[in-house]
Homo-oligomer: 232 residues x 2
Amino acid sequence: MALHDRIRTEIEGQILSGTLQPGDKVPSELELMAHYGCSRMTVSKALTALSGAGLLQRRKRAGTVVAPRPTETMVLDVPDLAVEIARRGQAYRFQLIGRDIRPPRPEDELDEGLARAGLLLFVRGVHSADDEPIAYEERFISLTAVPEITEADFSVESPGSWLLRHIPWTEAENRIGAVGAHPDWAARLNIAPGTACLSIERKTWRGDERITLVRQKFVAGSFELVARFGAA
Amino acid sequence: MALHDRIRTEIEGQILSGTLQPGDKVPSELELMAHYGCSRMTVSKALTALSGAGLLQRRKRAGTVVAPRPTETMVLDVPDLAVEIARRGQAYRFQLIGRDIRPPRPEDELDEGLARAGLLLFVRGVHSADDEPIAYEERFISLTAVPEITEADFSVESPGSWLLRHIPWTEAENRIGAVGAHPDWAARLNIAPGTACLSIERKTWRGDERITLVRQKFVAGSFELVARFGAA
DNA sequence: CAGTGGTCTAGACCACTGA
DNA sequence: CAGTGGTCTAGACCACTGA
């Protein structure tokens, strides 16, 4: 283990164990140099890493203190559905229901970014695993941002997988909730209207440019999101 | 902007724009030193940061290459419910339904870590906003890990807020899905059995020690999780 | 204005590993 | 075995900012 890793780990341990409380002052770089008998670059590397992880706050002249509270942010796995289903050992299929090129409409309830994007590709379809439908999807794609998608064949590949391969997003926002199945698409999933479904709405960007908005409804029990935080 | 930041940003830009494709070789540290006219520590700082962010993979002798695909991990905000509701300007309340100290039972469907933890505090209750119930919660807390929680007053503060204040977790795992309301608790939420609910199961650890398992059911529409990725 | 962190240099030795 | 990254040193100059 490198020395800078050892320094980082020891200070991290004192924070997690509560020996160092939020607001407590951490020794200055000079003091840590003396304590560990190393150069300033080495302690700086450890402290910079802890600061980047949100455990420390550093201010010139004032020194380094333990950050108020570890931010409760988590890592959420949002896998490509096709990949995830294949990983379960099931046969993935995307069944296209409809595909239109048209301007945005008020009832689409789009965000500003897409509503102003000009022509959209509107795609609807069903994701299935071993021929069992598990999710209904409605997707809007900005043709300004992705003109070449008009050539894509969605009987071979889902729109999501196609986009991931051709123009991976750099920013995304997901909204996750629950919803009773709507009559318009309940039949597509072989469920009764009102049945509980997991609802995911995802917006993606590439830099400043809006790419796509997708709304997916998963049959309850068919799909779970997992979010982990920490060393695991 | 520091030089190492500029180097990092330029390489990052080439990856995000597609100029550098996954698998492509990035110039070696020596080449970058010559290109930017700086020392090796400076280019190393930039490359180490990009490697830590998952955009580059570095191997000795083989050099540095663009990573296969930016990992699709997202930052998920999992706020304290009390804080979140207060932020909306609503009055938060936790109504305790039951509180027992007992050993684990098979029907609890606990994970190994808690099932072996010895005595548990089992708490049930309802979270409400402006006296409207929005979530039902069942929680198991390891008394081995948190003996002092027997003194807590859950008419003042929810078990979740109490735990956050007293022994914040260091690791957590969330499972997020949808479920139809069960007759046992549907009435607590003033909804009909079978109504769609968002289901969150969260396990937390403090270091190696299992702390709590909580299962929450949110009335559809009352609560959304938001996950963001990228610069936003 | 003195202490702190932010950044950078010009070296060094080493471990790894693929040509 | 030669090129690469991983780590570290002993300095340096600077910007910031709170005592």
